[in-house]
Amino acid sequence: MKSSRSYPYWFILPGGLVYLVLFLVPTVAAFWFSLTHWDLFETRFIGLENYYQFLREPFLITGVVNTVIFGVLTSIAKSVLGLLLAVLLTSGLLGQSFLRTLIFFPVLVSTIGVGIAFAEIMHPARGMLNIGLSYFGIQGPAWLIDPNLALFSVALVDIWKGVGLATLIYIAGLATISSDYYEAARIDGATKLQMFFRITVPLVRPATVTVVTLSLIGGLRSFDIIWAMTKGGPGFSSDVLASVIYKQYQAGFYGLSTAGNIILFALVAFIVIPLTYWFNRREVDL
């Protein structure tokens, strides 16, 4: 195929230009600031001092561990649940459209609202969650207060809020799979479960790639939901890199937080780039 002319590079131009000017250029500029002491008004070159300082943060290790746990946990959960929900919600279920809306609704609601609502729902005593659990004779834990649990509780809410997006992408992915393959599989004697694992899962791969990539990057950088619910607490127990950086930023340590952002970027890239490389290598073309 004469790809040069059928798929001309100028197609990239309109979006690419906007992206270049409004995103890449400032980003490169920001890199310079990570090498300076910067209070927004003045910069003073200090070399790698900021990086050194950032890596000495007292709760950095907790932050990195939490970041990875949070990112991996939420993206796996969103991908798996999203796929299952998408399959369920394309199966012609009664009230399917309503259920789709229901599941997507959390995506629409502002994080602030979700944060406040869930802090209340997860209240150890008067929260609906524990009241609900007590009907089953379960003594619910102190979700957001228990330092060992807080991160996971936030992750739970993040999954709740984000699974609608994953589901939507999966629904779009399922829509592109030709029913021919399911027919062939039915003839080949596949059970529902086999069809799911051997037809749906491989053929919905484009959606999976997107969902995993997006939710992993999102999860590793996640911050607003954590901030809205625990502010990284109690203490520092649910701090992630992004919230550590945000706190520095809030404190006015701009150069330091820029350096932190670059370190976070490096961490995300370190995890995501090999993954996408692996994904792309196995892409099926039609």
Binding site: I12, G15, V18, Y19, F105, S110, A117, M128, E283, D285
Partner: protein, 274 residues
């Protein structure tokens, strides 16, 4: 067995609904309470239903700021989405269809957009130079720049599921590259396009940080900024805040209900034999 399945199904459904609905009952109830009651949070029944009062209070707040915000947010969202969908689909199309040594690099740049947080201050300097600061079209372009990575990623991976034979048929039929794209590829990308529209418009409509920095000024308020009318660090009017949250959620919700039906199954069925 069959009966058991139905019962299980219903139970699962009820649990599902509970999980997704209860938080909204909470938000909804809080939104109709009095300030004093709302400040106590909790899922108690309101002693007094102040739906209308709160609604009016929210809409009237600060000179009907909410209505202006609706307008601004809508303009930004619609403008940015139109540009985004087309430019992102075009980029995704080219990098999916055209294998070259540049692709890895372009792809990395795109991922960078998801991995690196935008640099606010340099951006402000830049858009001031470009005379885009404090303008709606500047805001639109910024939203395009920030939403591009996500959209390209989504489009790129879905374009793989459209058989290349169709591009070829169109090329043989005499279509220029842009005609192949707009007349054959883009219509077939409808499920993804709808997804991008939904997700990005929610993101842009609900964006709060970016307008705050790039679009200051009373005439430029966007919907999420209206939440500030009722929420502050030290004290919040929870009832009005939640009413406001509900109100700003409605336009995207309507969008969703409308577009959700547009995700049609089996768009490429019958296209090729093979």
């Amino acid at each position: 067995m069959k009966r058991q399945q139905i019962i299980n199904g219903v139970i699962a459904l009820v649990i599902g609904v509970l999980i997704f609905v209860t938080p909204f009952i909470f938000i909804g109830l809080t939104a109709v309470k009095s300030a004093a009651e709302a400040s106590q949070l909790g899922l108690s029944w309101p002693s007094e239903w102040l739906f209308w009062d709160n609604l009016v209070a929210v809409i009237q707040a600060r000179n009907y700021m909410l209505l202006l915000a609706y307008f601004n947010s809508t303009v930004i969202t619609v403008g940015a989405i139109s540009l985004l969908v087309i430019s992102a689909a075009m980029i995704g199309y080219v990098i999916q269809r055209r294998p070259s040594k540049w692709n890895g690099f372009i792809y990395a740049l795109i991922l960078a957009g998801l991995m690196i947080p935008p640099a606010v201050v340099p951006t402000i300097w830049l858009i001031k130079e470009l005379h885009l600061f404090k303008t709606l079209h500047g805001m639109i372009l910024i939203q395009v720049a920030y939403g591009l990575s996500f959209s390209v990623l989504l489009f790129r991976s879905f374009i793989a599921s459209i058989p290349r034979d169709l591009d070829e048929a169109a090329i043989i039929d005499g279509a220029k590259p842009w005609q192949v794209f707009f007349k054959v590829i883009l219509p077939l990308l409808k499920p993804v396009t709808v997804t991008v529209i939904l997700v990005q418009s929610v993101t842009i409509f609900n964006d709060f940080t970016n307008p705050l920095y790039y679009l200051p000024g009373k005439d430029n308020v966007t919907v999420q900024l209206t939440l500030y009318n009722f929420q502050s660090q030290f004290s919040s009017q929870m009832n009005l805040l939640f009413m406001n949250i509900l109100l700003v959620t409605i336009p995207p919700l309507i969008m969703f209900i409308f577009f959700n039906k547009q995700i049609v199954k089996g768009m490429t069925a019958g296209a090729v034999k093979g």
